[in-house]
Symmetry: C2
Subunit: 424 residues, 2 copies
């Protein structure tokens, strides 16, 4: 790209970010009623415009082979009346969630009579970078605006027409109900350099959220001058303690691995206590194999399961996202915890046990975003945890960890009410 | 520095960080009783070792002129029996605060019976970079360990002997009561390059906290690959609304500016509503002048206050940290809010008013860490807000905003208790 062009692009990005910042000031004091009216009317309007949305989506679908999309990727891109109804339903659900802005999270009256309140407020401007699913456009806009933030959406070029159509509908409705004009802006260029420009604008942008492959997330984390909510891979474990109920151990292991294999909270690694491995591992292995899962294990595992192949060290750290599972036999709870903290990814790890002390120690010592006691790893999810909609799952520990809903898109301020207090 | 030396230094930093990470795993599950015993016994031992601490401190004081320290800086460096008693008292106070680790911050039972708990946990390893006051060494160690974190302390070279003596005492007591050996590590080199090496080690270090001048904070923020709690300058405002009580307006303005001038929550800018400026500004200006404060103002201010000099745009954004105050007359509450959000630093801003609607709107619209309604800006402080000890004041919005106490040094995890739940 020529230097002059890059200067133009940079100027465009600064302008978008500056407008978003102005909108964020207005959004911070906007009533919940207006935000909810926008979400509900937006849901209706999207459904009314189904035909036009399908026409715009058809342009993306026609271009998909040219972008080298696989059939599965093109399918994720595809809209249908049912999928549009699903998007609308998502907006309705966000409208029903309580408004996080203004919540008094804590308060105390100091000895001098000062009433100190910790009040939830929006972060400001969120830069959301995602790949090709058009429904994410509507979800992200809904969650950001409901939490009082302006959002800059940077979707994949593969969904450019679909995303623009959705944002156009939402902005049309926004103008009708009184949402500030630049609350939701879709970046109009698909030039990759624009992302770099936005990531330097920490003066205007409070938070970047990349949603996509590991390459995208690493690039954003490396370049961003503002905080980033990151979601790295999930090598989730199930640990079967010596005090595990055999049937529960089987159900939880199989559900954690097989209920949906291609997702971050699916289990990739199984640890079994040596005292019960002889008895519990063979039936679990049979059921996993019946469901098409290949086991890769240590010597002891291969001894107990004829079809298991030898695992290498990489396998114990891998996120397979498919029909492979690593298995190890461990001598103690401590060994299991040590392996999970060393080889896991701090995402979701489960224990199956009827031993209270083991359960409590596992919950305390495993350093992961979610620890499951006698439950499937698949429950680490905003909806399953009762957060309402989620914008992603954080594998960070700072600010937000685990599923991120509306509250994770907020900050707070202290408001202190006095009647003339001065400091002595 | 030769390449080989830098490799050695880097290796040293990696080793310190790795050991801190190991210690942090042990600290995360350490009982509150052990941590409190360490703090209380540490307080006693520091007082018992007063004589030796003064000897070590004398070495720093002797070297101070060589480091080019001013007399005021050397005074901050100086220990005395009273100051050591103050450090010990600080440790006792941290011992009395409730243990943040393990607190159930929220919980819900899902329709399927899964009990989802959001549990407070330590962040992990904190890298704390500070300048020359030796008491900060003890404060930071106490707060980090009490919140279950390992800490890497990087103090100024000016206080090297004093800081080492304090850490030696705390580590001696730590070994007696069962604190992990590397919970508190003082960086043994004063080589500035070490800071850069640590800031790259996001694999081990969860958070960096720089405490010192703006140059240090900017350097850390620019280089750090982990999150940073930043504390930039405070251009705090007092806005006198048209509905202000005159005596309260005077008291709050003078206290905010003069009670202690060299601190971040002292007021630097005064805004007065045009409807009351004629009546209120002259007596306030007189009292400020009596206390040695020079006023720099707009034309209207100069008209009302003969001694006021003309302010330039820089003055309205400045953190003077001394006897100068910028003053403007504004036509409306909205104008005041706009100026505060534009020229302020998002630190602490106060309104004086008896108008409820004005107070509420100011609290909602001013985008600052602390908003004071009819109270001095000087109350934005961990102790005054009831947080107990504080490790600093954050001017960020992400994770921690305003005074940072124990809770701001923590993260959380989700722990879900089930009895065999699997996902459908």
């Amino acid at each position: 790209m020529a230097v002059a062009e890059d200067q133009d692009l940079k100027q465009y990005c600064v302008e978008v970010a500056r407008r978003a910042k102005t909108a964020s000031r207005q959004l911070a004091v906007l009533s919940g009623a207006v935000k909810n009216e926008w979400l509900r009317r937006g849901a209706d309007r999207l459904q009314q415009q189904t035909e036009w949305l399908l026409q715009e989506n058809a342009k993306d679908l026609a271009a998909a082979p040219g972008f080298g999309l696989t059939e599965a990727q093109a399918d994720r891109l595809k809209l249908s009346p049912e999928r549009i109804a699903g998007i609308a339903e998502g907006l309705q659900q966000v409208a029903m969630l309580p408004d996080p802005v203004g919540e008094v999270m804590q308060s105390s009256v100091r000895p001098n009579g000062l009433n100190v309140q910790k009040v939830r407020v929006p972060l400001g401007v969120i830069f959301f970078i995602y790949e090709s699913r058009p429904n994410v456009t509507a979800d992200a806009a809904a969650l950001c605006v409901k939490s009082g933030n302006a959002v800059i959406l940077r979707g994949g070029k593969e969904a450019a027409h679909s995303s623009k159509a959705i944002v156009d509908v939402l902005n049309q409705v926004g103008a009708e109900v009184g949402i500030p004009p630049d609350a939701v802006q879709l970046v109009s260029t698909t030039d990759r350099a624009a992302v770099g420009h936005f990531l330097a604008l920490d003066e205007y942008i409070s938070l970047a959220i990349p949603r996509g492959g590991e390459g995208l997330i690493r690039r954003v984390a490396a370049e961003a001058r503002m905080p980033v909510i990151k979601h790295f891979s999930g090598n989730c474990h199930v640990y079967i303690d010596r005090a595990a109920d055999p049937e529960m151990a089987l159900q939880i292991t199989v559900n954690s691995k097989c209920q949906r294999m291609g997702v971050c909270n699916a289990a990739e690694s199984l640890l079994v206590h040596a005292d019960v491995a002889d008895k519990l591992l063979p039936p679990i292995a049979s059921e996993l194999e019946r469901q098409g899962v290949q086991l890769r294990g240590d010597a002891k595992v291969q001894e107990l399961v004829a079809t298991a192949v030898a695992a290498d060290e990489e396998d114990y750290r891998a996120e397979f996202l498919g029909p492979i599972m690593s298995v190890r036999v461990v001598d103690s709870l401590e060994e299991a915890i040590g392996l999970i903290n060393r080889d896991g990814s701090g995402h979701t790890d489960a224990i199956v046990t009827s031993d209270l002390a083991a359960a409590r120690h596992f919950a305390d010592a495993v350093d992961s975003a979610a620890v499951m006691i006698n439950a499937s790893t698949r429950f680490n999810d905003g909806a399953e945890f009762g957060l309402g909609a989620e914008i992603g799952i954080s594998t960070d520990k700072f600010h937000a960890r685990g599923p991120c809903g509306l509250n994770e898109l907020t900050s707070y301020k202290y408001v202190a009410y006095g009647d003339g207090q001065i400091r002595q």
